[in-house]
Subunit: 406 residues, 2 copies
């Protein structure tokens, strides 16, 4: 089969790991597969390059920063290709430009516009393993654009689509996607498979396994993605779009968590059309990204509105709130910077009965107070004290019996 394998920065962090990756790829090729490899920059290279830029000027020009950052992946492709050739496997490193990865600017957060995959196909047909620089592409004017942090995952999925690959493999320093963070829950279990939507909820809720945009892209084109280990031979977790495969199983697939949550409650807001826009537009303009929004039932034409943001944005948001409250005629606001969230994720949990009740009861039985609740099609999230998040993950993992094999 034709497979696109992506290796992240940890997997190519030094010469030993690069040789290890090369050995894995060669084994795969000798087993009869066609392999296209996407690599990230080695270890902390991207951060080091950013520091270098900041040593020149506190606000580096975004175009020039992209030229600088793209060298990280360019180094990796050369080294991985060398390592493959040293093992007797013909290989060829390709920059984003050489691989035909065309992007739309903005610099620093480009999007892949199209992949002109002729060169990659030519190299594959000649028996060479193409090693492609993730995280980068060029505009039609040959300007180098990076795709934003973690976007090598997206490069890999985009190439899998362009090449009609059988699947994309995201090779990491974890062995797959787990029912909860194994550092918090010793009985956490690797999932054999998971749907795109569940993966997205797990990822946005704090599982750092795969870049969201990559999962979305894979979902749109139906490309299966195997999250697996770059270190050991492990079956991994297959992300796919076929929920029927899992019908008979536990609807809760995993517990996600996040300890970086701040909350602002606006009290006594006049309950009239347009009021939400009046509150959130100034925040968006200031670059404050709002996560959950909850509006309480209205009394006497006044309502309370609560929203969560990242803790780092709290000071900026607070500085805007006094003005916003006076503009919209609200009574005032209160802030709490020390919150976290815990979620149960699984297709069908919103429509099935009893999941929400069991979640709330389990938390309450352990003295964990729920500050806010929000739900989606496949997720139930409680905002709680940051200090209780780890307890809550363990409590819910137990309550939904996620340690049990499916």
């Amino acid at each position: 089969m034709l497979v696109v394998q992506k290796y992240g920065g940890t997997s190519v962090a030094d010469a030993d790991r690069i040789r290890h990756v090369a050995g894995r790829v060669v084994k795969r090729v000798r087993a009869g597969d066609q392999v296209v490899v996407v690599v990230s920059a080695m270890g902390n290279t991207t951060d080091e390059l950013i520091d270098l830029a900041l040593s020149i000027t506190p606000e580096p020009d975004p175009r020039e920063l992209d030229i600088l950052l793209s060298t990280g992946e360019q180094m990796s492709i050369a080294l991985v290709a060398m390592a493959l050739r040293a093992l007797g496997q013909d290989a060829v490193g390709l920059t984003g430009q050489q691989a035909g990865i065309y992007t739309r600017a903005n610099y620093g957060s480009g999007r892949i516009a199209r992949v002109e995959a002729e060169r990659i196909k030519f190299e594959l047909a000649a028996g060479r393993v193409p090693i492609i620089a993730g995280f980068q592409g060029v505009t039609d004017e040959q300007e180098i654009v990076t795709l934003g942090r973690g976007a090598s995952d997206t490069t890999a999925v985009a190439l899998a689509i362009a090449l009609g690959a059988d699947r994309c493999e995201n090779c990491k320093d974890v062995e797959g996607v787990y029912t909860a963070d194994p550092r918090l829950v010793p009985t956490a279990r690797r999932l054999a498979d998971i749907t795109y939507e569940e993966m997205l909820e797990l990822a946005t809720q704090g599982s750092q396994v795969m870049h969201n945009r990559a999962v979305e892209l894979a979902s749109v084109y139906g490309i299966p993605v195997l999250v697996t280990s770059s270190m050991v031979d492990a079956p991994g977790t297959l992300i796919h779009g076929d929920p029927e495969q899992m019908e008979e199983r536990n609807r809760v697939r995993g517990i996600a968590h996040d300890t970086d949550v701040a909350k602002i409650t606006v009290r006594g807001v006049p309950d009239k059309p347009g009021i939400a826009a009046d509150i959130f537009e100034p925040l968006a303009a200031a670059g404050v990204s709002v996560d959950t929004i909850v509006q309480n039932a209205s009394e006497r034409d006044l309502t309370d509105l609560t929203f969560t943001i990242s803790r780092k944005d709290l000071k900026r948001a607070e500085s805007l709130m006094t003005g916003i409250c006076s503009d919209v005629g609200a009574a005032g606001f209160a802030a709490d910077g020390n919150l976290g969230k815990v979620s149960i994720v699984g297709v069908g949990i919103q429509t099935a009965q009893g999941y929400a009740a069991r979640m709330f009861r389990s938390l309450s039985d352990h003295g964990i107070n729920i500050e806010m609740i929000s739900t989606s099609e496949i997720r139930l999230t409680c905002i709680i004290d940051a200090e209780r998040v780890a307890d809550a993950v363990r409590v819910l993992h137990d309550a939904f019996e996620l340690e049990r094999a499916e």
Copy 2:
């Protein structure tokens, strides 16, 4: 005027120096000049990248090595362009590919085939300072090729030619070309100007001021090159093609030296056609680069033939010589690995009388024995003991009164 300025690795070795270079460029632009900048990789970056490649495999693939090494200059262009923008001067970093520098492979020692300078001209016309990656270009197939060590000088001259620049400026950590190495001769004097040919002889004989190929290229197209300091404001040395400017002056322009010389003498070689080829072809095939060759007067149809090589090649050459001697019917060979050379350089010294005699007499007066002599149009070279090279440079600098202002 339109000028191409080249800054080497030492001049952009760290953030402070990069900001200093940016300051110099901005000053020049504000004084009314159009400036195109060519930069090398920072400090020891190229060596560090080579070490990185060697940590993967002892024989890195040349194509992949070029992809790796080209990141060094790519980093520099981004950082210098950022530094210029931070000073309020619009600037744009351009890789070899983006700058339209087209090369012929071989990888690692490419040659510039042509420069398609439209992009650079466009940026200049828009008031931006183009910062170009030296040392690299692409083939018509968009393969990245480096031009060999020190070749950023060549990039700068090639761009000066393509752009019709008024001159090329090679900005270095020295203030110009000197009559001898100032570390050996405290009275060594900066030359105000020098011809291309003299510069070539000084360079090949050991003055590490400018890459030979760059001087040759400048000579062919008659581009004046100013060698000057990147650190301080200094008049520098103008390399040009007009020897008449210097007619009335001391014909000896400088003393060059080199302490890395080994010598092999082949004794009792049958003096017949083709014998030199029989000796030097196997050496060339083994990658031994031969410098000076001297053949002594023949007696009884036998001749002695002596040649010099770099010390690092001596072992390899010796291992071939026994076979070569038996193939050509020579009596045997002797090797000496501990030699150096000292040269006087200047247009006209071969045709003018007395220069050779004064050179030989001065050396002999100081007890320095001459092992071999070779000459060119503008150079007289003596091979001597490596230990006496420093003495010889001082002796000759005195003898030809090079400390005296012209």
